[in-house]
């Protein structure tokens, strides 16, 4: 009780400090007067009485101070004093302050922005219960549908999921999700017009395993997953509910038409839940039991060999990863051995014992974004940290220069009794103030830069749904680096500034000692700036050249002047394998080809960087490893013309290749070489999948193309006509001449002329699509170039500042030299020599650091190695040039010195 009362009294005193001082003053004055009167009563004269009274009283000032201090606010008051003093002195030298604040804002802001991206992509845990208990079977790198045996350890079949759920001993719950997102167009019942929906097929246990309760209604349950086709229910995300239904409170009564089935909305997920893929928010979750009804209508619910699910589990309390791994592998072997089917051959069975299922923690969710951007983000984090260091060195130098100017003021204060620590505390407070203001500006800068970064990461399509807004964690991070920055650039100048020979400093504030002591430190700072700038410049050069190499890769097809878009027949009533699809595609191709400016048009399942349909292929006489991944592309007759892929032998598909004629295929060069090594493949036959599949005749060979990425080695690829393999095809490409937007409008109108309701999405060019596949390389190259130039710019300022100072200090000496006959050019050379020496040392130190650093990033480069000499030489050249430019002005100033003035300069 008394404690709170005491605290309240102290607070009250804090608020009424001035009144307190006045009161105390009056009280003490009264005391002295009364004492004086008393002395006078005993006969002393007035003057002596007063002195006696004062002697008896004691040191009034000291007593006042002690009384003040008992209230305990001295630390606070001196802090406020320091801060306001610091603010005033900052305002007194506006140029220095602005430069410092700008460098800080850029440095701290850049760090915060990159960290926010890093945090969102790599560090943040899923917003679910106890994310650290979640594990994924496999690595999460493969996705799609496979039928291999032993199964790919990343993706599994539905029956396998059920078996794992039953038999395992280490998971309290197991869930499965389709490894692909279904982007379809569905209709909200009662509304006109389809809208795009990201549908994620999940097992009934998904929400309960994650521990995510529904915000409204209910989540999916295992019951919803029990029998195929019997549970047309869906849970929607909060974001989708807000976006598409405007938070309509009657959402639970609504139904969605997807494909040809009506799904009832049974629940809304909580606002922070977006699914388990970071960077890939789902709109709607539907149980796997309905997979046949959601386009593309997969049939694998009961198929042991339709492997397309990610499996995840929640570890039971006390179970370690090692235990879980061994148990999972045990059951994997059991389940696999129990299977029988065409793929269960002797060769494959032999591979089974050595197949290992790795377990991966899923605390931060799955993310293809993370795989793509993990290394670039780490590199960028290092880059911005280096930039901040360079900025700190600049500010340290600025403060050192200013402290020389303040030497006199500090000497006076020390002479008056201020302790050295007290002064250091004040200088550090000023540094902290500077850093805080810079940090606040940096946060502002970061919140703008964040959006720009996200845009760059999205590579030009819809913005990736990452939350990079400023949050608590980010602010704490910013605060931490702000304080570290302040300590870095403030400590040494503070200590330096207070180490004074008082008499010298008081005499003229510019004793030789203070000036001399500064120079080596300042030079060391500038040298380190140059070294770091070299590292950043070389890095930027490497990434830039790597990017250029990538953009010059021969893709095999001609990526110029090709329009491409997606159409979604599933949402207008076409089922997978609907025979009308072939007619639809053909009609669209015909009509579009007839447009003026269109040279060729074709449908296909893939064009570039879109995934693949992999299947093994059986070639008579080729002792194929049954798990050779042959990629298949289902295309239209005009595909090779549209993509301008050169035909090397044989013919392309034509009108006589119909559903009933001989099944045909065109193969790529690499496939021809590897699977038909000594013969002309044309005319030969093979089968896709198994020996029961129909025989396919090779009718042509085309040039190899890049299929998934620009860096890939040649792939085994074949093409089959869609007339013989009906199904959904997502891509439509059109080779055109002329203006893109005119053609685009014309093509879209034509398509709508065939089917008015067919949704068209992702209208873009092939060029853009190829460019998008190297988004992360572009991000790194652009940003490292920007920061590299920024670093050089900051170093320039550092060099300029130092040189100006050095010239000012040596004015005397220069004057003497010129009086003794030195030429102006000689003086200029003197100064330049100093600069070149400085930069030379910096470069010499920087080169080995650069070499070491570039070895770390060599695996991110394409077409060049880490110790690429061109980048190194170019960067050294740029640095020298820039340094010379920075130093030129001070050099010129030195040569302009009037000897008489200089000699008088004391």
């Amino acid at each position: 009780m008394s404690w709170t009362g005491e605290f309240a009294r102290r607070i009250r005193m804090l608020l009424h400090r001035r009144q307190f001082d006045v009161d105390l003053e009056e009280e003490m004055r009264l005391h002295l007067e009364l004492r004086q009167e008393q002395q006078m009563e005993s006969g002393m004269p007035a003057g002596a009485a007063r002195s006696a009274a004062q002697r008896k009283f004691g040191n009034a000032t000291r007593i006042r101070e002690k009384s003040h201090m008992t209230w305990g606010w001295e630390w606070f008051e001196s802090l406020v004093q320091d801060v306001s003093y610091g603010a005033r002195s900052m305002l007194r030298s506006p140029a220095l302050t602005i430069v410092a604040l700008l460098s800080l804002a850029l440095g701290i802001g850049a760090n915060t922005a990159i960290f926010s991206l890093l945090d969102a992509v790599m560090l943040r845990s899923l917003p679910v219960k106890n994310p650290s208990q979640l594990v994924l079977l496999g690595t999460g790198t493969s996705w799609g549908t496979s039928d291999s045996f032993p199964s790919n350890t990343d993706i599994y079949s539905y029956p396998f999921y059920r078996e794992m759920q039953k038999k395992n001993e280490v998971f309290s719950d197991v869930a499965a999700i389709l490894s692909m997102r279904n982007v379809i167009h569905g209709t909200v019942e009662g509304r006109d017009g389809a809208e795009p929906m990201n549908v994620q097929l999940v097992s009934g246990t998904y929400f309960s395993m994650l521990g995510v309760p529904a915000l409204m209604g209910r989540a999916l349950t295992d019951e919803d997953d029990k029998n195929e086709g019997g549970h047309p229910v869906a849970v929607v995300s909060y974001a989708w509910w807000k976006r598409s239904l405007a938070q309509d409170p009657s959402v639970l009564n609504k139904r969605l038409k997807i494909g040809s089935t009506l799904f009832s909305i049974v629940g809304v997920a909580p606002p922070e839940f977006f699914g388990t893929q970071v960077g890939d928010s789902s709109d709607i979750w539907i149980p796997l039991s309905m997979m046949k009804d959601v386009p593309p209508n997969q049939q694998g619910y009961n198929d042991n060999f339709s492997e397309s699910l990610y499996l995840m589990g929640r570890l039971k309390p006390g179970v370690s990863m090692a235990q879980a791994t061994s148990n999972v592998n045990l059951i994997y072997q059991q389940i696999m051995r129990g299977l029988s089917g065409p793929n269960v051959t002797q060769t494959n069975l032999e591979k089974l014992p050595s197949t290992q299922v790795p377990l991966m923690s899923m605390a931060t969710g799955l993310s293809s974004l993370r795989r793509e951007f993990s290394d670039p983000l780490k590199i960028l984090m290092v880059v911005v940290a280096l930039v901040l260091l360079i900025a700190c060195a600049n500010i340290a130098n600025l403060l050192l220069a200013r402290s020389t100017a303040r030497a006199r003021e500090l000497a006076v204060r020390q002479a008056l009794g201020a302790g050295r620590m007290r002064l250091i505390r004040q200088l550090l407070t000023e540094s902290l103030l500077l850093a805080m203001v810079g940090g606040a500006l940096g946060v502002g800068f970061a919140s703008v830069a964040n959006r720009l970064l996200l845009h760059m990461v999205s590579g030009g399509m819809e913005t990736v749904p990452l939350d990079v807004s400023i949050n608590m964690r980010l602010l704490l991070f910013t605060l931490a680096i702000t304080v570290i920055t302040a300590v870095l650039f403030g400590t040494i100048p503070a200590f330096r500034a207070t180490k004074l020979q008082l008499t010298d400093a008081l005499k003229d504030g510019r004793g030789p000692q203070g000036a001399g002591a500064k120079s080596p430190l300042a030079k060391a700072l500038v040298i380190s700036q140059v070294a770091l700038s070299l590292v950043l410049l070389v890095g930027a050069g490497l990434f830039l050249r790597s990017l250029v190499n990538l953009t010059n890769v021969d893709t095999g097809f001609n990526k110029e002047n090709v329009l491409r878009l997606h159409t979604d027949p599933s949402s207008v009533g076409y089922k997978e394998n609907d025979p009308r699809l072939t007619a639809l595609y053909q009609q669209i191709e015909e009509r579009v080809s007839a447009l003026p400016g269109v040279r060729a048009a074709s449908y296909s399942s893939f064009t570039f960087h879109e995934g693949s349909w992999n299947n093994n292929v059986v070639v008579a006489g080729y002792n194929a490893d049954q798990n050779v991944d042959v990629k298949h592309n289902v295309v239209g007759n005009g595909y090779f013309a549209a993509m301008q892929i050169p035909l090397l032998a044989g013919r392309t598909f034509g009108t006589h290749d119909t559903a009933t004629s001989q099944k045909v295929a065109i193969i790529g060069e690499h496939m021809a070489r590897t699977m038909f090594p000594k013969v002309n493949p044309i005319g030969h036959h093979y089968r896709i999948g198994s020996l029961d599949s129909p025989e396919i005749e090779v009718i042509g060979i085309v040039k190899d193309v890049k299929f998934k990425s620009l860096q890939e080695k040649p792939v085994t690829l074949d093409y089959v006509p869609y007339t013989q393999h009906p199904g959904y095809l997502q891509d439509f490409e059109v080779r055109y001449t002329g203006d893109f937007s005119t053609i685009s409008t014309a093509v879209q109108q034509t398509i709508h002329g065939v089917d008015r309701n067919l949704p068209i999405t992702r209208v873009t060019t092939l060029n853009e699509q190829v460019a998008r596949s190297i988004t992360n390389q572009r991000l790194v190259a652009q940003l490292s170039m920007f920061f590299g130039l920024l670093a050089v710019f900051l170093s320039c300022i550092g060099i300029y500042g130092l040189m100006s100072y050095v010239v000012a200090r040596r004015t005397n000496e220069i004057g003497i030299r010129m009086a003794l006959g030195a030429e102006r050019s000689h003086v200029r050379w003197l100064v330049m020599r100093e600069i070149v020496l400085l930069v030379g040392v910096g470069i010499a130190i920087g080169v080995p650091i650069t070499m070491a650093g570039s070895r770390l990033v060599s695996n991110m480069l394409f077409g060049l190695r880490g110790n690429d000499p061109v980048s190194l030489v170019a960067s050294v050249g740029i640095l020298l040039l820039v340094a010379v430019m920075a130093g030129y002005l001070p050099a010129r100033r030195a040569s302009r010195v009037d000897p008489m003035e200089a000699l008088r300069y004391e």
Binding site: S2, D23, E26, E27, L30, G58, I63, T70
Partner: protein
């Protein structure tokens, strides 16, 4: 006249007791009272009274109010609170304990 210094920490004891005996006093009166009660033996550096009074105000052992003296001047009068009375007895017993111990040591010789 050489007056003996008071042992450190006993200033609070003296002030509390003075206020307990005399009720409302201002600073000068407290100093005077202590001096007279001790038969002029104790020399209190009068200034040190004020920081001590401040501390007692913080702790809530006394309260202060502005009033007028007999000579029609403004002075701050201090009064003991209930907490102050309790503190007084605590300090007295502590003091007696210390003095008792010292006395025993001296007497044993």
């Amino acid at each position: 006249m050489n007056r003996d210094e008071i042992p450190p920490g006993t200033l609070y004891l003296l002030i509390l007791k003075t206020l307990a005996l005399r009720g409302e006093l201002h600073g000068y009166q407290i100093a005077d009272s202590i001096q007279r009660s001790s038969d002029d033996v104790l020399q209190v550096e009068e200034g040190s009274l004020y920081p001590a009074l401040q501390r007692m105000l913080i702790k809530g052992w006394v309260t202060a109010e502005w009033g007028t003296t007999a000579g029609n001047r403004r002075a701050r009068y201090y009064t003991l609170t209930a907490a102050g009375r309790k503190q007084l007895s605590v300090e007295v017993s502590q003091f007696e304990r210390v003095i008792g111990a010292i006395t025993r040591v001296i007497q044993t010789v």
